[in-house]
């Protein structure tokens, strides 16, 4: 699922994602060349608290559905229909169980920290959230970017 959705996400959000710090330095150097760095320019860093485990399931699935509808072609990604993708997404979120101290537990909120799918799902959810900031920044010729870590295993 991650390898299916992450390339689409990255293509759509490429302008506002950093895949590493080198990527950011390139954007900053362009910002300088374009004459936007003044001696009063400030840099802002922000972090989102506990993103993975905070994502609401329903909200994230709805964001995923909107994302698929918008970016698929004739309702399909490759040979898979949006319906297939949504079913798989629910399956991943609903079957996240673990054993601890001889007891079984099922996660009911957010996604599993280590799961590749949680990453791309959180990215898609965040992408909707950040649209206002992106618009604000681009209208003032400023940089907005979010760091996206290891989208694919190599």
């Amino acid at each position: 699922m991650n390898d299916l959705l992450a390339p689409i996400f990255l293509k759509v959000a490429r302008e506002t994602t950093f895949i590493n710090s080198i990527d950011l330095i390139r954007k900053l150097e362009k910002y300088v060349v374009d004459g936007h760095l003044k001696n009063t320019t400030k840099f802002i860093t922000a972090d989102v608290t506990d993103l993975y485990t905070m994502i609401p399931r329903q909200g994230a699935l709805e964001a995923l559905a909107r994302f698929c509808v918008k970016h698929s072609k004739q309702g399909k990604v490759g040979t898979l229909t949006i319906d297939h993708i949504m079913k798989m997404a629910r399956l991943i979120l609903d079957t996240n169980c673990f054993a601890y101290n001889n007891k079984y537990y099922k996660q009911i909120r957010g996604g599993a920290m280590g799961s590749a799918f949680t990453q791309v799902l959180a990215n898609i959810y965040m992408f909707e959230w950040e649209q206002d900031l992106i618009k604000y920044q681009t209208s003032h010729n400023e940089i907005y970017g979010r760091f996206v870590k290891n989208l694919f295993k190599e």
Partner: protein
């Protein structure tokens, strides 16, 4: 010291020429629109972000490597039982990263001293280090940087390396080519009968000569001229010994707890 201070996908970076009040209003608006997303932000003319320090030095951009205060100078010890090319690659790769990130030659110099000391602390022989440092500057046509910290040559080196695509970017470019019509992950992998990558357990000592002997043996007895495998390419892949970490840490619960369904 070489560790990246990367966290998850929750790090945001922005630039601004607006007033503090304006941008605060905008950020708070975003912070309040979804109760699930809470953000902490700060702004300054100099910030640490991921593994870099970014400074606005009187309208001049300065970037350098950021080291977490708790980072220790640990790298793969020279005495570790790894194929030698891995040790050779470390000085090269760390210098490459420093040259890409540091925007001025003095920061780069500080960084290369740091690299040098870390290598020494991990038992890399001085001669080995000098040789690998030389290799880096020679291959990138930047000997004047090594010899007299030439600022102009450094600027060229920094720019060239910064704009060279990294290995990850090449992989990403391949995956992003046509992700909706023909996703790479759904494509069938075609088996290439002309390539074999047998793995073997690497150990320095008696078997250090194994690859050479293997290729000789392969050529003599299998890939001799006229043989059906004459044009098959063979590349030996050295596997390293299990680390203590993989030996001692078991993440997966034992089989009986996974199959004992009656306690549910």
């Amino acid at each position: 010291m070489f560790s990246f201070s990367c966290r998850y996908i929750d790090d945001i970076f922005m630039t601004t020429n607006r007033t503090i009040d304006d941008i605060k209003k905008e950020l708070d608006k975003s912070a309040n629109k979804d109760i699930n997303i809470k953000i902490n932000y700060k702004f300054d003319i100099s910030v640490d972000f991921l593994d870099i320090t970014i400074t606005n030095d009187n309208a001049k951009l300065r970037t350098s490597i950021f080291h977490k205060p708790v980072a220790e100078p640990y790298i793969l010890p020279f005495t570790s039982d790894h194929p030698r090319h891995i040790h050779r690659n470390i000085p090269y790769a760390t210098l490459l990263r420093a040259a890409r990130i540091c925007s001025n030659v003095d920061d780069f110099n500080t960084e290369s001293i740091r690299i040098d000391v870390s290598l020494l602390l991990n038992n890399y022989p001085p001669q080995f280090i000098s040789k690998q440092f030389c290799r880096f500057f020679k291959l990138n046509n930047a000997m004047p940087v090594l010899k007299q910290l030439d600022e102009q040559v450094y600027q060229r080196l920094h720019r060239t390396l910064l704009h060279q695509p990294t290995r990850r970017e090449k992989t990403l470019a391949k995956m992003m080519k046509d992700p909706v019509d023909s996703p790479l992950v759904l494509e069938r992998k075609i088996w290439d009968a002309k390539l074999i990558y047998p793995a073997y357990l690497f150990e320095s000592g008696q078997s250090i000569d194994l690859p050479r002997q293997f290729y000789k043996w392969w050529k003599t007895y299998y890939a001799y001229s006229g043989s059906s495998v004459q044009y098959v390419k063979v590349g030996l892949v050295p596997n390293t010994n299990r680390t203590l970490e993989s030996f001692l840490i078991h993440k997966k619960p034992p089989r009986d707890i996974l199959t004992r369904m009656d306690t549910l």
